[in-house]
Symmetry: C2
Subunit: 186 residues, 2 copies
């Protein structure tokens, strides 16, 4: 009884990967079933609202991961510079040094008429706010902190787009290097 949540959590990474590779429209239930090893019966048992609920769960999982691993340290770490450096290294690891794209960013560019818009906006808003707060605590003037934070969040997304477009993950690494120079005084 009540093993539903377990099956959900177990399947989420595979589902996320399918969305990442094929986009929301392109990720068919057949594909999701094949990659998770779950039949339609199991899939609809774990996600009664179907594909939309799977996407919501994936976005929530991603948001939760970043909240725990990145935003919270940015907000709470007594050493804001260390938290910023942690953000950069966690970002590098999460996006596999540019070999993996940002699902939230990809959804932002295509989806928009769905109920995903709030989650997508929240993901980026939280990131920007947490980083701005860390920069402020690191001694930057408020306006500069806001500006730098927005620039950093957008730069990371751009790095993912360009790395993917050029099929050259090194683009991402170079971008992170420049970003570190801008965020933490070297």
């Amino acid at each position: 009884m009540a093993k539903k949540p377990v099956a959900r959590e177990d399947a989420l990474p595979a589902i996320a990967e399918v969305f990442r590779e094929y986009g929301y429209e392109g990720a068919s239930l057949a594909l999701i079933g094949a990659r998770t090893g779950l039949g339609k019966g199991s899939l609809y048992h774990a996600f009664p609202n179907g594909k939309a609920e799977m996407a919501e769960a994936v976005l929530d999982a991603i948001g939760g991961w970043f909240e725990d691993k990145v935003y919270a340290p940015l907000r709470d770490d007594p050493d804001p510079r260390a938290a910023i450096r942690l953000m950069l290294s966690e970002t590098d690891a999460y996006f596999r040094s540019g070999r993996r794209i940002c699902l939230v960013g990809a959804f932002a560019l295509t989806e928009g008429r769905d109920g995903f818009a709030d989650r997508i906006a929240g993901y980026f808003r939280d990131w920007r706010a947490a980083l701005a707060q860390a920069l402020l605590r690191a001694g930057r003037p408020a306006a500069e902190a806001d500006s730098l934070a927005e620039d950093a969040v957008l730069t990371i997304q751009g790095g993912l787009v360009l790395a993917r477009a050029l099929a050259d993950p090194a683009v991402f690494g170079r971008m992170l290097g420049r970003l570190e120079g801008r965020l933490v005084s070297v």
Copy 2:
């Protein structure tokens, strides 16, 4: 006779807009037909290879537009600083100050297994190369010119992603302002 090219060119902007809004998978022929006012007969007469050919034509048209309006001046204008400023203003106009996304960037994030990869890579490679050349001519050291050019191209893409994700076009304008400061010494 031979009015095919005309019909093609006329339909391209509408087709591009559908791809921009719905993505490659999401852009159905029914939708494209409705937005262009063309039936399937006309559509397949102008684009015998169907949707894939439409997407290729759209990407080629976009690439051609940027080549003429942005890359060529970047390469040939005797005043490289003026060419860079022109790039920024043309970019702002083309992307409607952040209200329009970059179709090439959006395709880069989802598509990748198709024949579009070369066109997508070419679009960004040409932009980066033309800008690096202008920066070099403006007196920057070669390494710095390359780095700045890559940063600029990726930053613009990131600005489009974030503006869309937050449903806040102002993000794009702020990003262009910062970019101008980095590219042309104020």
